[in-house]
């Protein structure tokens, strides 16, 4: 059995009355890219704060490389690198000055830093930007510098907390290219908190964390399979009423997912004409397609990820 980078068991955390994490279980194998998908306020940040030993859990256990977060926080801190939602860099300092300060926080010597930068900067395309002030860099470049910052002490586990917040699609793409490249070279485990379906698709495994509880757990493929294979999706204004009458009049299995009715019938194609005949006026659109992670989220959370994001957590954008 491959060893575990992260093992979380029955983890519960409360802020006063509010339960931020509710009996969460998850395990991350070494070398994996593991995703935690969920809306803002779903518990992702709390989970990360516990794993990085910033707060102590109310109940349950969490271990990082076999070390309990309550026992030896410093042993864990040395082995993880963290990239936060907002970059942890001083704008008026140069890239090198920033990295120097952070290296010192992790006990990386001047010499060690120079050697590490020789390895990292070319991979990040930052060699000729290293003496520029951070305030002069684009958002995408800042993120890359911030990623270098998280990797200075060569941590075997990297925590990425919504690392592409505020980036445009091109910068997002190039950020992930960089992550993939570094991952191939360094082989570290990555735990990614995200609410982007596109990023969740990149993961080897993922959990869906909603309202502090894990509602689904598996590979992206498994999770989609859980919703069904290629099926028929009906969009309409009153999906629940539509689903009921479909079941009673046409004898097909239906599931309501968000604003859509999923018709789980192997012969979806054959049902379609009958459906149109019966409900033509109420159907806005009908599609036959494979489920997406968005559908998975809606099935388990009962609402779309977008609707769940009612309280954005990042006021600093």
């Amino acid at each position: 059995m491959p060893s575990l980078a992260v093992d979380v068991d029955n983890l519960t955390h409360r802020y006063g009355e509010r339960t931020a994490l509710d009996e969460v279980d998850l395990s991350v194998h070494e070398g994996a890219l593991f995703g935690v998908l969920g809306p803002n306020g779903g518990g992702k940040t709390t989970l990360f704060r516990i794993l990085s030993t910033l707060i102590r859990p109310t109940k349950g256990t969490a271990t990082v490389f076999g070390v309990d977060v309550r026992d030896r926080p410093d042993a864990i801190r040395k082995r993880i690198g963290i990239v936060f939602q907002s970059v942890a860099l001083d704008a008026e300092l140069t890239v090198r000055e920033n990295l120097r300060t952070h290296a010192a926080l992790y006990g990386v010597s001047r010499r060690g830093l120079d050697e590490r930068l020789d390895v990292l900067l070319p991979q990040f395309g930052l060699v000729d930007r290293v003496d520029e002030r951070v305030s002069m860099l684009s958002g995408g470049l800042k993120r890359r510098v911030d990623l270098v910052r998280g990797l200075l002490h060569a941590p075997p586990l990297l925590l990425l907390d919504e690392p592409t917040t505020g980036l445009d699609p091109a910068a997002r793409h190039s950020f992930w290219e960089t992550v993939d490249r570094v991952r191939r070279n360094e082989g570290m485990t990555i735990l990614l908190a995200t609410h982007s379906m596109e990023e969740a698709e990149r993961c080897d495994r993922l959990v869906i964390l909603d309202r502090g509880a894990i509602v689904a757990n598996g590979t992206p493929e498994e999770l989609r399979q859980g919703v069904g294979d290629e099926t028929l999706w009906i969009e309409c204004s009153d999906p629940r009423a539509m689903a009921d009458s479909m079941t009673s009049r046409l004898n097909v299995d239906t599931v309501v997912i968000g604003s859509r009715v999923q018709v789980s019938d192997p012969n979806a194609h054959n049902v379609l004409p009958a459906l149109y005949e019966a409900f033509g006026r109420d159907i806005h659109a009908a599609t036959i397609r494979r489920p997406t992670l968005e559908d998975v989220f809606m099935l388990h959370a009962g609402r779309s990820l977008e609707d769940a994001d009612t309280t954005p957590e990042t006021p600093d954008r």
Binding site: A88, H102, D316
Partner: protein, 259 residues
Amino acid sequence: MMYTVTALWRRELIKFLRDKSRVGGAVLQPLVVWLLLGFGFRDTFQLPSSTGTDIPYLEFLFPGMLALVALFTSIFSTISIVEERKSGFLQAALAAPVSRSVLVLGATLGGTTLAVGQSGLFLILLPFLGPPPTVAGLALMLFVLALIGLAFTALGVTVAWKIRTTRGFHAVMNLFLIPLWVLSGAFFPPTGAPPLLQWIVRLNPFSYGVDALRTAMYWPGPAPEVATSLAVSLPVTIVFTGLMFALAVRSVATPIAPE
């Protein structure tokens, strides 16, 4: 550990020096206050006690002005803690494998250096005021300024840790700082004040720093209008600084106030 402290200290200095408005503001504001008050009260001011010496108000106000520079520079060097509450450097520093006291030490030594540097700049005015300064006197003044700087950077850290907005930080600090300064014997000699005010001045820990500065300014000669001798004012200032530092380390050990 020293390596980390040095790196944090360096960071504070670079940040300060790159912020031109901060550099200018920290020098000009106290200078203007000093000159306006000094010339404004020049003819009306009179020392209450009959020490035999009569010194101009500009000269009387000088140690207080130095203390004021140290006070403001140190306190406001900690404002970035409020700004970086949920973003930036602070969250990464708190997640790093260093003890909180190292973080506090790095930040406060940075603030202290700025305080000593800024107020030390004003010492070039010293030869134009009062008796010629001695090396021992100058060294003593710098030492006291460092103590004041350290104490109030530490206090700034404690307050910044508990306050959510920079606006709140300014409000709390102005509420604190102005009375602290005015009622320290820096602005008027307490001996001529009503007994209640005299008591307040005596209870104000900052008074002892100002007293020590005033004593050092005339060292080794007698200083006008000091309430306590160096044997009292210096130890009190040292103990106060230690307390403020311990308080800062203690507050930083608790989680930062949430957004």
